[in-house]
């Protein structure tokens, strides 16, 4: 007998929390708001843990259907929840990291106006994200997908009176729309050809189809469209531009939505649709290329950023590129593994960055930080863990997962040494910019103002000191913020110890269920190839050594440039001249998009749609017919002159006309 897990409660609980806080939160005290938000989010986490505890005794995949939603002919969509190894991992990451960030936010947002609004949005986000993760069909997934976009929009624009925040929210929403368009078309194609959006049915029908190796067909089209959707949500080239701007939101939001959970939805979606991608090598290659390019591209931009959160934003894009690369070489479990460890260490990095920003009163520019090591030791040590994790030093979590991806990128039947080489170079850059951030923030001399009036004139109205801290100087964050940092730090270290092989084995029922016959052969060939590599000279160990070397080189360079000889970076930047400024200005991609897409669209809308079609055609039709009627009546008005004799004249004229007509009729 299958135990009833009541999976539907997991997403619905945060929704209730969101509703309570959203509807009544204005009248609640801050304590009540925080208690409500934490209780409902925590309850979801407990339920998720309970599901995990019972997981081994479940027949997997576990399906719980709540109600029929749409039924049209043979097409049916249910409100149903689907739990397998993949969604379990996502479930635990989302609820776990989400809960920790909720706790952190209580401390971070304590001084902010709209406290209840923030937690209502945050709970709403949890609801949609959990719907996305637990859906058993693409349509419910799409609801969650759109919903997290909405929550992201609301939270980026949380300080909506700030113009930049409001437009950053809009930008995120609109850019995501481009990707959603692809996702939606993919869904329509699925309905058209498979008659269903249900995961099991779609994958069952798809797994009967042969791999489209030679020519692109239906599955390739669906795969590429899904990829477009994933690229929007997961901030990949060419749709990554919204994520750096999304840093306008409060820092816990950046940690939760724009690092740990929402942006990984694209990776989850690609992994979930692996049956389709397995049979569409071209789509798979597209994913790999996009992922690889994005990881490199974003990492180079990250090197030249000065805003602490922007560095982390580009780092997130780059790490998401790694996950895409993993999915693109059909190493889905490596991608999901990195997704999980990334959620730990990048969530931690953002939270620690928030703690730094909080400590020095809203300053985000790293050039005005420095020497904070002694002042905020807890933040420093937790951030150090995360930095080492993301840079890929063993035995931290990031090393294990990143190494799994790089190894897969090299050894997978879809992989190539090019992916691996770019991946290693990106790892070097990652290590460099992360340690640059680390040295700039925590070492050397403090370069900011030491006055007590911080938080007053700074760009970010965030993170004033909590009342018990007063306003004096640099201070460590309250415990409610430090506890999540410590927990995440532990996870950043130990999260990878489960080992990529064991993780892969855990997920293998998901990813090997529908592997196509030809792919199985290829995979077997890949295994052989991998084994050959191993036999040839412990190639995996060699590659691992190279990636550790890259990380160490990055650390050394950062130490050299930003600790040992801090005047060097300026000289190098000057020597590079134009190239440096191109990088520092994010390769002018925003400007390019403005010229290529925004301006034509704006001009087209203004000149053609507004001025030509709306004003000259639609409005003109109405205006001219009204004018015509007015002019006609204006001339007819003269008949009603009030002059008796002209009336008589008209009568005589009319009578004559009638008589003439009658005579004409009579003589005919």
């Amino acid at each position: 007998m299958t135990p009833k897990l009541h999976l539907w409660l997991i997403p619905v609980l945060p929704l209730i929390g969101a509703a309570i806080n959203g509807l009544f939160g204005r009248r609640f005290s801050r304590q009540t708001v925080a208690a409500v938000a934490l209780a409902f989010c925590g309850a979801a986490f407990v339920l998720a843990l309970w599901a995990a505890a019972l997981f081994s005794s479940l027949p997997v995949p576990h399906l719980e259907s709540l109600a029929t939603w749409i039924r049209a002919g043979s097409f049916q969509v249910d409100f149903a929840f689907y739990l397998d190894q993949l969604s379990l991992v996502m479930l635990l990451v989302v609820t776990g990291v989400g809960f920790l960030i909720h706790i952190y936010s209580v401390g971070y947002m304590w001084q902010e106006g709209g406290f209840y609004r923030f937690f209502s949005y945050l709970n709403l986000f949890m609801f949609f994200m959990l719907t996305l993760v637990l859906a058993n069909n693409y349509l419910m997934m799409f609801i969650g997908w759109e919903g997290v976009g909405l929550a992201s929009y609301l939270l980026i624009g949380f300080w909506f009176t700030k113009d930049s925040a409001a437009s950053a929210g809009k930008k995120a929403f609109i850019v995501n729309r481009v990707g959603d368009f692809g996702f939606l078309i993919a869904l329509l194609l699925l309905i058209k050809h498979f008659g269903s959006l249900n995961f099991e049915q779609v994958f069952q029908s798809a797994s009967k189809m042969p791999a489209e190796a030679a020519e692109a067909g239906l599955l390739t089209a669906i795969g590429l469209l899904l990829m477009l959707g994933a690229a929007g949500k997961s901030a990949q080239i060419p749709l990554y531009v919204w994520l750096p701007d999304a840093m306008e939101g409060p820092t816990p939001v950046s940690a939760l939505i724009h690092a740990a959970t929402m942006v990984t939805a694209g990776v989850y979606m690609v992994a979930r649709s692996h049956v389709i991608f397995d049979r569409a090598p071209m789509a798979l290659m597209g994913v790999a290329i996009i992922g690889t390019l994005t990881s490199l591209f974003a990492a180079t931009i990250g090197v030249a950023q000065t805003d602490i959160k922007k560095v982390l934003a580009y780092s997130t894009i780059s790490q998401l590129g790694y996950m895409f690369m993993a999915c693109g070489v059909a190493a889905y479990s490596a991608g999901i593994f990195h997704l999980m460890t990334h959620a730990f260490f990048k969530g931690l990095l953002f939270l620690a960055a928030g703690s730094v920003i909080h400590a020095i009163g809203g300053e985000q520019d790293m050039r005005r930080m420095g020497g904070l090591k002694e002042h905020i030791p807890w933040t420093f040590w937790t951030m150090t863990m995360a930095t080492f994790a993301i840079a890929g030093f063993p035995p931290f979590a990031g090393f294990v997962s990143k190494d799994a991806i790089l190894w897969r990128a090299y050894s997978s039947p879809y992989g190539s040494s090019v992916y691996w080489a770019i991946g290693v170079f990106t790892a070097l850059l990652t290590s460099f910019y992360m340690f640059r951030l680390w040295f700039l923030t925590f070492f050397g001399e403090y370069r900011g103002e030491r006055s007590g009036d911080h938080g007053g004139a700074h760009a970010q109205p965030a993170a004033d000191a909590p009342p018990e801290h007063g306003h004096g100087g640099i201070h460590e964050s309250p415990k409610v913020m430090l506890v999540p940092l410590v927990i995440l730090a532990v996870l950043s270290v130990a999260g990878g110890w489960v080992g990529s092989a064991r993780f892969e084995k855990f997920l293998s029922p998901v990813f090997h269920a529908g592997a196509p016959a030809s792919n199985a052969e290829q995979a077997a060939a890949g295994e052989t190839r991998a084994r050959e590599h191993k036999e040839e000279g412990a190639s995996e160990a060699l590659l691992t050594g190279v990636s550790i070397g890259a990380a160490a080189l990055g650390l050394y360079l950062a130490w050299l440039l930003y600790y040992r000889r801090p005047q060097l970076p300026r000289q190098i930047a000057d020597a590079l001249g134009g190239f440096y400024y191109a990088v520092a200005n994010k390769y002018h991609v925003d400007e390019l998009y403005a010229i290529l897409f925004v301006k034509p669209l704006l001009d087209g809308s203004t000149r053609i749609l507004w001025q030509s079609i709306d004003q000259d055609v639609i409005d003109a039709t109405l205006d001219n017919s009204a004018d015509g009627a007015r002019h006609l009546s204006d001339s007819l008005r003269h008949m009603q002159s009030g002059n008796l004799r002209s009336y008589a004249g008209w009568i005589a004229f009319g009578a004559a006309a009638v008589i003439a007509y009658m005579i004409w009729m009579g003589t005919r």
């Binding site: 009030g642 002059n643 008796l644 004799r645 008589a648 004249g649 005589a652």
Partner: protein
């Protein structure tokens, strides 16, 4: 015997003269006389048809018209006098307002 069409033509000419006078003249009395002219033009066609068909209906109708015309002349002339007293003109173009 004079053919019917002659009478009708004369009747039409009389009526047209009446209409023309009604339209172009400004003196109220002239207009009034034009109306009489039109009425008599119509009367002529009535009697012409009556004689043609040998019935009395047309003749009787003419008497009715004459009675109405007489009554109208009485009332109309009274109004004209009243208008002249108040406005000291008989030009219709100046009598285009109902109030003074």
């Amino acid at each position: 015997m004079v053919p019917l069409s002659y009478y009708l033509a004369l009747s039409g000419i009389l009526f047209a003269c009446g209409v023309t006078g009604f339209l172009i003249k400004r003196n109220i009395i002239t207009i009034f006389m034009s109306i009489e002219l039109m009425l008599n033009g119509v009367n002529l066609s009535f009697v012409a048809f009556a004689a043609q068909w040998g019935t009395l209906k047309g003749q009787i109708f003419v008497f009715f018209v004459m009675v109405v015309a007489a009554a109208e002349a009485a009332v109309g002339l009274a109004i004209i006098i009243a208008v002249y007293r108040t406005r000291e003109t008989l030009n219709v173009d100046r009598v285009n307002l109902l109030k003074l």
